[in-house]
Assembly symmetry: C2
Homo-oligomer: 236 residues x 2
Amino acid sequence: MHYQFETIGTIHSCFKEKFGIPRQPGLATEAEATLELLPPYNQPDTLQGLEGYSHLWISFVFHQNINTPWRPMVRPPRLGGNKKVGVFATRSPVRPNPLGLSVVELVGFDRSACRLHLKGVDLLDGTPVLDIKPYLPYVDAIADAKGGFAPHAPEQSEIEVIFEALAQQQLAEISGGKLPQMMRLIQQLLQLDPRPAYMNNKPQQREFGMHLHNFNLRWRMEGKRATIFEIKQVAV
Amino acid sequence: MHYQFETIGTIHSCFKEKFGIPRQPGLATEAEATLELLPPYNQPDTLQGLEGYSHLWISFVFHQNINTPWRPMVRPPRLGGNKKVGVFATRSPVRPNPLGLSVVELVGFDRSACRLHLKGVDLLDGTPVLDIKPYLPYVDAIADAKGGFAPHAPEQSEIEVIFEALAQQQLAEISGGKLPQMMRLIQQLLQLDPRPAYMNNKPQQREFGMHLHNFNLRWRMEGKRATIFEIKQVAV
């Protein structure tokens, strides 16, 4: 049996590519996105009462995975990428139906423009949204639930994040008044260690890059130190 | 933009009709269901590792609402059914995409048969399932989230549930060894007061019925008292 669903909105996110996106929502609190409702759903009435909620569930499509064939077992990064687990025991983006689900912070919204401002996102730019539901703590917050192979948040990272002077200067020019926030965001993301799981704890020096907001970020990993050496504006 | 999803499983639930289903999961802990994976998803490997989790997210289709036109505002029962709220500020089953989301307790599962045993459900029998994801307390349990017009569970009901002798005898015959559990389930459901919101606190005596498991239940409401006067087996 098949069911067809329509995109009700689009995510405009700081994450312009998959690499570097936190693996769950809420891990990088400075990661922002805007959810824009699309016609015919962009009716201010649909959002009335949303101001009473601090968090929302976003049901979305892993749109860059719709053509990736699913497999019964996957290797979650939390298990170091070398142990297989059943796909339904994970939140892998490669799954029978490429449906995503994230709880995000609702910072505010512009009812007339039908735009919601979200924080703590793990959503790729351009993500198609299928539904928005309020987070109900009395139903959804089950503090004593058993969390399988990921019972707690990833351990506080020991990664030290350093901006080279030139990179910091480049970021200041690009980000205008938002420099402190951008520095916090970059620090949060690199401390989550976006490298593929099999590379963790590898001592070799290697360079990485990611496209964030309107800039490309490049950094070098040496042991537990991430050194940002280049930040270049990207033409939008 | 449209996306098509396939049913990966079906719910076999104690709830054989919409009337009487709790309005959120977890409210009637004795409400049970089985989730059966369908081909080609019924591969035991997909469930490996699920034993580490106590709760699951079930993404499903409100299949009895797929042809009901959505409206920008709805009247949630929690507001007495007489105040309108934006559809995205509610979990109404009538919404732009009839997608449902419930956190349920995973009591156990039979891997080789690809059947999961769930408790605390608010799912109609025959519900098509689109996805199963583990509940991760470190991500999903946000105890201090602001819960809008439903910040807490419905107040402890003052409804007194009484079984007439004949009805209890009928239930004993039908339910075999499960009589105590069935009585608890019925008590939980009637205490949640399944009547339409506009009828709450109406003093008039009225009769109601619902189809639960393999029986039809009939009860009478008088003030705050629910008297069960008939339980009849239904041919399956």
